[in-house]
Subunit: 221 residues, 2 copies
DNA sequence: GTGTGTATGTCGTCA
DNA sequence: TGACGACGTACACAC
C-alpha cells in the first residue's frame, strides 16, 4: 500500500481492516493504535477497483484499489491479496455530536465567576475584538483593565498570543494599563515561566468546581 | 451513546459502524467525515457487554457496551438497538508505516545543501541545543552566525519560535550577531510580514528539487 | 475561499 | 513518565 501526496508513505503486506465511506474516503486500520488509521484518503475522493500489474499478480495480488482525491493529486494505492471478509451497509445521514466542556463553556463560566481572577474584578465583555483577533475576556480590575487568555491546556503558544494582545491593548490610551492573565485548567511549567517573566499572572481553573457553582447558581432561579 | 471524560459528548440513535480493536479501543464511525470517528475510546481500555436498563429495554435497546479507560476514568457507553452485521477477525501484529518527506528529511537535505541560504554559508550543526529547545540548523554566514528555523508550512508560530531563539543566541558573545532565517516549503503571508518586520530572512524550499539534487548526489558515490 | 484558533487532538522524541 | 513540537494534523468559525 502506498500513499503519495504531501508526503510518501509505504505499508507492508498484512491483514488489515479497510473502511470505505459514502463520500469516497478510505481508511486503513490495524488492530491497534488509536482512532487514527495507518493510512487513509480524506474526502472527497473516488475509488476505483482495478487489475494488478503482472508482477503483482504473480506475487499473489488479486485486485488493486486506487483512491484518488478530488481536489488534490493525492493518491492511495492498495494491493489486495486475500479478502477475508466483505460487507456493505447503508448508514444514512447522521445526527450530529453534542459536546459539553470545551473552551466556550469554560469562557462562559469564567465570565460568570469573574471574581476567580481576584477581588475587585468586573466583566466588561467576552470576545473583545481587536485587529489581531478577539481577546477571550476583558475585565476591569482593581488597577486598570485586565485581558484574559483562556485555554484548556496552558501552553507556550497561549502566552505568545496573550502577549500580542497586550502589546496592542496597551497602545490604546483608553484602556492602558492592561494587565494580562493566563487562565487554564492546566498550565505547563515552561508556559508559566514565560508568562511570569513577562508580568502575566497565571490562574489555574477547576472546571468541575466552576460547573458545580454554575449548577448551584442555576438552581437559585 | 455517551462519552464522559475530558468533556461530555452525546450522540443520538442512528446506524453506525463500531470497531473494537485488540487493545480495547472502540471507534464509532458514521458514513462520512474524515478518518476521525464521531466518538471513541483510546487504548488501553476494556469493554464490557451488559444488559440495558428497563426503560432502555422498553425503548428497544438490546444490549449496552461499556468501555472503560484503563488509566483514567473516561467512559464510553453505547446502547445497541439493532445489530445489522457482526464480524470478528484476528489481524496479528502489524509491520510499521514508512514515511518520507517529513521535517526531518527536509532538515537533512537543507543541512546538505546549506548554500540554499545564500553564498558563503557553512553548516555548524543541526539541532543546536539551547535552554529553550534545539535550533533546527546553526550555520556560519558571510556576516556572523545564522540560525535557521525549518517548517513544512511556515506559520506565525514558527516566526515566534525563531524570535525566541534569536533573543537568546544574541546574548551569547561567542555567537552574536546571529541572523535569523525562516525556511519552509510554503510561507504564509502573515508569517512573512512578521518575519521581515523583525529582520528575519524568509527562504522558500522546493522539496522535490532538493530531493532530486540529493538523489543525483547519491548517484555520484 | 482564506486565515485563525481549538482539539477527548494523536504521535514521536527526549530529558 | 512528562514536557514539547510536528502532524498528510482535522475542524469550526470569522472575515
Amino acid at each position: 500500500m502506498t500513499y503519495t501526496g504531501r508526503l510518501t508513505a509505504h505499508l507492508a503486506q498484512a491483514t488489515r481492516l479497510l473502511m470505505v465511506k459514502a463520500d469516497g474516503s478510505v481508511l486503513v486500520h490495524s488492530d491497534g493504535g488509536s482512532y487514527k488509521p495507518l493510512n487513509w484518503m480524506s474526502p472527497p475522493a473516488t475509488m476505483r477497483v482495478g487489475e494488478p500489474e503482472p508482477d503483482e499478480a504473480s506475487a499473489g495480488v488479486t485486485e488493486v484499489w486506487t483512491v484518488q482525491a478530488t481536489k488534490s493529486d493525492d493518491t492511495l494505492r492498495i494491493a489486495i491479496f486475500t479478502l477475508h471478509h466483505d460487507s456493505a451497509h447503508e448508514l444514512g445521514t447522521d445526527p450530529g455530536l453534542v459536546k459539553d466542556g470545551v473552551e466556550s463553556d469554560l469562557q462562559r463560566l469564567l465570565a460568570e465567576q469573574i471574581e476567580r481572577l481576584g477581588d475587585g474584578h468586573a466583566l466588561i465583555r467576552r470576545e473583545h475584538p481587536t485587529p489581531i483577533g478577539p481577546v477571550d475576556i476583558l475585565a476591569r480590575g482593581p488597577a486598570g483593565h485586565v485581558a484574559v487568555e483562556l485555554k484548556r491546556r496552558g501552553d507556550i503558544d497561549g502566552v505568545e498570543q496573550l502577549t500580542r494582545y497586550l502589546d496592542l491593548l496597551n497602545r490604546d490610551p483608553l484602556l492602558a494599563p492592561v494587565e494580562g492573565v493566563f487562565a487554564a485548567q492546566q498550565i505547563k511549567p515552561q508556559a508559566r515561566t514565560l508568562a511570569e517573566d513577562r508580568g502575566i499572572r497565571c490562574v489555574v481553573l477547576d472546571y468541575d468546581e466552576m460547573r458545580g457553582l454554575d449548577d448551584a447558581d442555576s438552581r437559585l432561579f
